[in-house]
Amino acid sequence: MTDTTTDRTEPPGDPFDRDDLPSPPGATAALLRSLLSTHRARVAFAALVILVKEGAIQAGPLLVAYAIDRGVPAFRAGDHGPVVAVALGYLLCAALAGALQYVFVRGAARVNQDVLLDLRGRIFRHAQVLSVDFHERYTSGRLISRSTTDVESLQELLSEGLQELIGVVLSFVSISLILLWLDLGIGAVAIASFLPLHLLVRLYQRRAGAVYAERSTAIAGVIVKFAETMNGIRPVRAFRREEVNDKDFATLNHRHERSNGDALLEMARYVVGSRLVANTAVAGMCLWGAYRVASGSLELGVLAAAVLYMRRLYDPIDRLGMFLNSYESAAASLTKIAGLLAQEPGVPETKAPKELPARSGTPGREVTFDKVSFAYRTGGEILPAFDLTIPPGQTVAVVGATGAGKSTLAKLLARFYDPTDGAVRLDGVDLRDLATPELRRGVVMVTQEAFLFSGTVAENIAIGNPDASRQEIEAAARAIGAHEFIENLPDGYDTDVRKRGGRISAGQRQLVAFARALLADPAVLILDEATSSLDVPGERAVQRAMDTVLAGRTAVVIAHRLSTVEVADRVLVMEAGRIVEDGTPSDLITHEGRYAGLHQAWRESLVS
């Protein structure tokens, strides 16, 4: 799961804080390879297209030569053939170049977009599988940064990169060959000049790589702060945080500005360096060639031709720079993405799923905790080994102070976590052996945070069961007493909840969350403080729904309101990770235990 403390020595501090999740060596290159592997043929095709296109463009000068050498005399002689041929040839080349350019741009875009779609999907799917506590530490801002700005770096590389790279390689190779063919000596100088260029490129790569890694971290920091502020805008306003936030944001923004400027400056240094090498080499070649012409070991004509090609040899170094620039930026981003993708899901889905036995009579199922113990890897509360069996159809209330382990128990049953030792079983089948759809038909958990996704109210309820009809959705809402308020919304069930349900109160959101759970119709329902924001009538409606719609389900209810607990068949009192009392509510009240104390306090709080 979120275990990042590998054996390798790492810089001090938490990799989450540094936004530097480790990935196995070579993971970045492997990621790029695997993204491109399915597109090999199309990349090759695109490369071919751009090669032919360059050829068509280069045919121009040849046609000019032909027109002057052959066309002019022939035309004078009254033979229009060669001139017509030139006209047709030029027309053909122009059309070909245009058509191929069109084909290339579209073909390259398709490869590019397919790769991006693939990468975005991988990030998203992987993030969805990672555990809740991973997300609590990674933050939504960083995930946003990975799937937007980091993906866009790759987009930049892919959209320009192929053409740049092919152009660069093509020029270097063809012109070096021509120079070698013209004169071995000059050609050798040209090739020798590649060594300092190579060193320069390596130096640039190393420095730019570090700068881009920093930039990617910096923009993620900016996004995290941005997202946090927008999501907490009400308290920001009410507690007049605007100016403090401006200052904090300025620091983060400045960090990004610096690395952004650094990146541009690295590029400027590369441009100066590479141009210096190139221009010095040209001057050197000229000087040496001229000397050899003077000494008679080189023909003037050859030097003249070589000189023309020399300049063109280095034409692509700027384009090489642009390519390297986008490559380094993309590599830094891919490293971050690879780090995310290397995170192991805390609760991996089984490869060999088992099925739950058919339900026998009751809609509920039996829950067993078999010698289960649990400790968070990040510290925090611990559950020592315990056994617990909940027969089908039983409603169990779990009470105890904050930190007593109630939520952990619930999360183990919902398989948000796997136990450190022992097994949680549903009708005898280990939860780890259930595929997700089967597991969620079995167990559903409703938590205190009743988050609404943007979309309509109906869509939000339908998360419980995507196949549900509108009637079923409304029936679920009715059963929980949410129908009335939903009908009163501007567009009823089709009302857009907009930003995280800004216009829907916390209590109403909890009702929607309940409707969701009713629609899911699970064998085991877990309610983790799921009624905290409801008023008393709302709470009663939930209880009624559990008595009617959910009758016969196995239920685990964590609640502070003992009104909810009173209707339970059985109460577990937890303290410091242990179950310290277990019995029916009426039994426990009569004993001088903790539950009796809680009950007494609750009675007093009712006062009416």
Partner: protein, 603 residues
């Protein structure tokens, strides 16, 4: 119907119908102005460097034709030296141009982002209700990067290449005006094609940017709603919904590529055709003896040298279009009206009695349909100085909205609210919000230490003693001291995650730490267990004694904190009185408090 709903539409109507890219880009001027000297110098340097690049081949030619051909060693050395000097100058100028703009352009991007952030912090809450944060975020990241890239490349090179093309044409016309005219013919169709392209490309680019914003929203929600996704095992359908959206974006990007491919092809082909025509005409002229072969060659090589500047116009225009739509998107937010602040009348004479007084207050969301009933309708309510009033009402009766009006998170649509006789609409927001302290229904902690989170609620003078007292009131001192670094422990999105009850207690501590004159608590004890609740209530009573408070309550235990109770029903105050009075006189109140229907079953 998608299984997990995704942001269905861009939140704002897609920009003005008048898509003038130039007009949009001109709006960048205030940000560019401070760096204009550097930017213009850089453009100038680019032009000079391009000219140098043109001179170097001439020197090469001179070297070969002159000293080398003449076997003049001194001349050769001199020529090589010239070449080296020119080469060094060229290299330095290229680098200089980039150096000139590197920091300033990063600065422009950062300034625009800081302004956006500052603006967003000050826009009305109603604005944030309408806009998904992904759309805001994508404006602050992707869009601003496009703007920076535009300032770095297309802006300069449209200029440089434009100058090069113009100069080239002058040369061409000077060499042979009739052939030059042939090369001029494609200009008009190209201009037309380009302008059509611009408009269409701009529209598609805008769509792509909006879709990136939607995608951002979905990613964010997938994290914020991760417990629901996991609780219902919906990660597959969630991933499918994401894939749908990402596929739509892919489709838009491909449409963009199609347009780009088209314009690129046209810009490649049309000038080539003109060159071809010039070649044929020229050949005929040479054959007829009207033109020398050398002139034709020179003419055509000049024309071919212009190929790259012309071809590049296609993608330079495309990048400019994207920057223009990104700028539009940026200013859509920047143009939204900030919360208007009160006229600078810091102290109005107190009129009438103290405490909090609502006079005929109505509220309807600014974006609500006209026929919708107002959320709050003619609220008259008086909380006496030092009194605690409980606000009770059914789900969705407008309680939270009512509390939001006091610190002016929303503005009352009608009527007025007086704090100690002072109309809040005439108070500076900052002062108002320093008088009124709130604990929200949903306790939000920021990425900061526990201590900082709590002390946010007080002025700068508050320190350790105030912090301890507030933590004590909220019964949070116990668990806070057990945290790894006590009050220095980092919490919030980037820190330790606390349970709902713990967060609620810290939010409560934050509300009371500054001993505010007016205190508003929205269901402050909902997530607490019974024992803790009882202890918090006892401590809270002390605090409430010295402040005027409005407490939203869902259950009798919370109501007992208050001196009196107001019953809110469908946006109106239905009754005010003590708990006991209302239990006797109001059926609705009794029902809300006990959950037991008295005779009439209406649910």
């Amino acid at each position: 119907m998608p299984e997990i709903p995704v942001a269905p539409e861009p939140p704002a109507p897609a920009a003005a119908p008048d898509r003038s890219a130039v007009r949009a880009l001109l709006r960048l001027w205030p940000y560019v102005r401070p760096v204009r000297r550097r930017l213009f110098t850089a453009a100038f340097v680019a032009v000079v460097a391009s000219c140098l690049s043109l001179v170097i081949p001439l020197v090469l030619k001179w070297l070969v034709d002159g000293p080398v051909a003449d076997r003049d060693p001194g001349g050769v050395w001199l020529g090589a030296l010239y070449l080296l000097l020119l080469g060094i100058t060229e290299a330095v100028l290229f680098g200089f141009r980039r150096w000139l703009v590197a920091r300033p352009l990063a600065g422009v991007e950062a300034r625009m982002r800081a302004d956006l952030y500052g603006r967003l912090q000050r826009l009305p809450i109603a604005f944030h209700d309408r806009w998904a944060s992904g759309q805001l975020l994508s404006r602050g990241t992707t869009d601003l990067m496009l703007v920076r890239m535009f300032l770095a490349f297309p802006l300069t090179f449209l200029l440089v290449n434009g100058v090069t093309i113009l100069a080239g044409y002058v040369l061409l016309l000077a060499q042979d005006w009739s052939l030059g005219l042939v090369l001029l013919t494609p200009v008009i169709p190209l201009v037309i094609v380009c302008s059509v392209f611009e408009g269409r490309y701009g529209a598609v680019a805008r769509r792509a940017q909006d879709q990136v914003g939607d995608l951002t929203t979905v990613v964010e929600e997938s994290v914020l709603g991760i417990r629901i996704v996991k609780g219902f095992g919906r990660h597959r359908s969630q991933a499918l919904a994401f894939r749908d959206l990402a596929s739509t974006l892919r489709g838009t990007e491909l449409a963009k590529a199609r347009l780009l491919a088209m314009i690129w092809a046209v810009i490649t082909v049309v000038p080539e055709l003109a060159i071809g025509a010039a070649l044929v005409l020229g050949t005929v002229q040479v054959a007829d003896g009207d033109l020398s072969a050398g002139t034709l060659v020179a003419f055509l090589s000049t024309a071919m040298a212009l190929r790259w500047p012309v071809e590049s116009i296609g993608f330079l225009l495309a990048m400019s279009q994207e920057a223009a739509t990104a700028t539009e998107r940026y200013f859509e937010v920047m143009d939204a009206d900030e919360e208007p602040d009160a006229p600078a009348r810091s102290a109005t004479p107190a009129e009438g009695p103290g405490g909090v007084r609502f006079e005929g207050v109505s509220f309807r969301y600014p974006d609500a349909p006209q026929d919708a009933p107002p959320v709050l309708d003619g609220i008259d309510l008086h909380i006496r100085p030092g009194e605690t009033l409980a606000l009770v009402g059914g789900t969705g009766s407008g309680k939270t909205t009512l509390t939001a009006l006091v610190p002016r998170l929303h503005e009352a649509s009608a009527g007025r609210i007086l704090l100690d006789g002072e109309d809040i609409a005439l108070m500076e927001r900052d002062r108002l919000r320093s008088l009124v302290s709130m604990a929200f229904e949903e306790p939000t902690l920021f990425s900061a230490s526990v201590g900082e989170n709590v002390l946010m609620g007080a002025g700068h003078e508050a320190g350790e003693p105030e912090l301890r007292r507030a933590l004590g009131v909220a019964q949070a001192d116990g668990f806070v001291d057990r945290l790894p670094d006590g009050t220095g422990t980092q919490v919030g999105e980037q820190g330790l995650s606390l349970s709902g009850g713990q967060r609620q207690r810290l939010a409560l501590a934050r509300a009371v730490v500054g001993r505010p004159r007016f205190l508003i608590l929205d269901d402050p004890l909902s997530a607490l267990d019974v024992h803790t609740e009882a202890r918090v209530e006892a401590a809270l009573r002390e605090v409430l004694r010295e402040t005027t408070a409005l407490v939203v309550a869902h259950r009798p235990s919370t109501v007992m904190l208050a001196d009196r109770v107001a019953l809110l029903s469908r946006g109106r105050i239905a009754a005010v009185g003590t708990h006991q009075e209302l239990l006797r006189t109001s059926e609705e109140y009794a029902w809300l408090m006990s959950g037991e229907d008295k005779g009439t079953e209406d649910r």
